[in-house]
Symmetry: C2
Subunit: 229 residues, 2 copies
DNA sequence: ATCGACAATCACGTATACATGATTTCACAT
DNA sequence: ATGTGAAATCATGTATACGTGATTGTCGAT
């Protein structure tokens, strides 16, 4: 999958725009329009959209304009469940092959997160918050694990966009520092516990409480739909 | 992702042919040729190949004819590692929400496996062996987990094709029965242990012993290449 | 006989054309 | 005003055309 073509440009841009919530769930993604923007034909846009749809970020239905995906509550729960599972494996691997320079790399990333947060760039901040987990996966050294986690984490941005309160900070950087600290102790069980707590916190910010789920949902979605023209 | 188009036909057929090892790793997949076979244009074939490449079954490189992917030993290990992780989660969920009719469904599937094995249809037999694990995931009720596991399991067919001894039975049906039996006891820990053992057995059949890995590899691959024309 | 340059062929990358199904518009009846 | 249906418009589904890089084959020099 070595796709250095111009289809990739559209893919990357769209992906990032979705993750940063510049393109909200439900937004229509017309092939012509996007193609005109990037100066490529529909052919390449289609390829990009197809890729995004396989990652669950875009909804493609036959003969209908593609849209930014709107995860259902059920999907959201499944995504978080899998995220727990994958992140636990990441921690597992990291504690097994820990090296001090990994700590430095993570530290550096958190600094970036803080910088974005301080500068008020909430879009970058939330993207970087997600990418922290991707960096962890990369350090863990399993490319497939990294790929799946990337998908799952980016879909969490969608979930946050649909169900989250408008612009709550997604991942407190202090929590990330906590994860790093735990990893540095070399205590696998403790590290996993810390990560679990962090993920539960993320989930709590992204998803409404179970009992208020049903009622809040509908107006929420409708508001979004009308806003999206 | 509701793709009921003719691109899907090519996709399904190719996928199955690869999984059943009718198309061996390294085989060239020319767009024209495939299109002519299915009576569709390159456009649709490309879409199908793109999808397959994202699932890791096909290798696409710019300006080069697509080929059936040849997983490296390293990839193979990563795939198995992730498979362990995902299957464990499946068992976890199944033991948490076990229902007797699940046992029946699994039982029925194993019977199919046996029928194929008895009839000497090794291609179907090995496909069904893999699908047993997909059925488990479906019963577990997490669609995303099912999707990832499908990918991983199908890639295991590739691994087997490259590194496995020619046509060893992949999953003994007795092992699958063992998994079902464990699930029926309702003992989560025991079920997970049984599944782990099963997966290790699968892995042992698919991958060469670590020390003989390096030397066997090259001639193995080359033989395959020359055989594939 | 082997190696390397060049030509011919092949297969892909990308844009575009045309057909068809979806969506919107608008006139008209209620 | 509201709802209905046909026409117009729009966006996608798919095939095809054309350019270009890769691959293969040929021929001459060593």
């Amino acid at each position: 999958m070595e796709n250095s073509s111009r289809s990739d440009i559209a893919y990357q841009a769209l992906r990032r725009a979705i993750i940063e919530q510049a393109l909200m769930p439900g937004t229509k993604l017309r092939e012509d329009e996007i193609g005109a923007h990037f100066g490529v034909s529909r052919t390449l846009v289609r390829a990009a959209l197809l890729r995004l749809s396989q990652e669950g970020l875009v909804d493609i239905r036959r003969k209908r304009t593609a849209t930014v995906a709107i995860p259902s509550l059920d999907e959201a729960r499944q995504i978080f469940e899998l995220r727990h599972c994958l992140e636990q494996q990441v921690i597992h691997r990291l504690t097994a092959h820990w090296r001090p320079e990994m700590g430095e790399a993570l530290e550096a990333h958190v600094k970036e997160e803080e910088a974005a947060a301080r500068s008020g760039d909430t879009a970058s901040a939330s993207r970087l918050a997600g990418e922290f987990h991707i960096v962890l996966a990369q350090l863990a050294g399993n490319a497939l694990l990294t790929r799946y986690l990337s998908e799952v984490v980016s879909r969490c941005s969608l979930i946050l966009a649909v169900y989250g309160r408008p612009h709550v900070a997604e991942c407190a950087t202090t929590e990330h520092r906590g994860v790093i600290a735990a990893l540095r102790t070399g205590d696998a069980a403790a590290s996993i516990r810390i990560m679990k707590e962090h993920l539960h916190a993320v989930e709590a910010r992204a998803l409404p409480k179970p009992q208020e789920a049903e009622e809040v949902r509908i107006s929420d979605i409708l508001a979004r739909y009308s806003a999206a023209r």
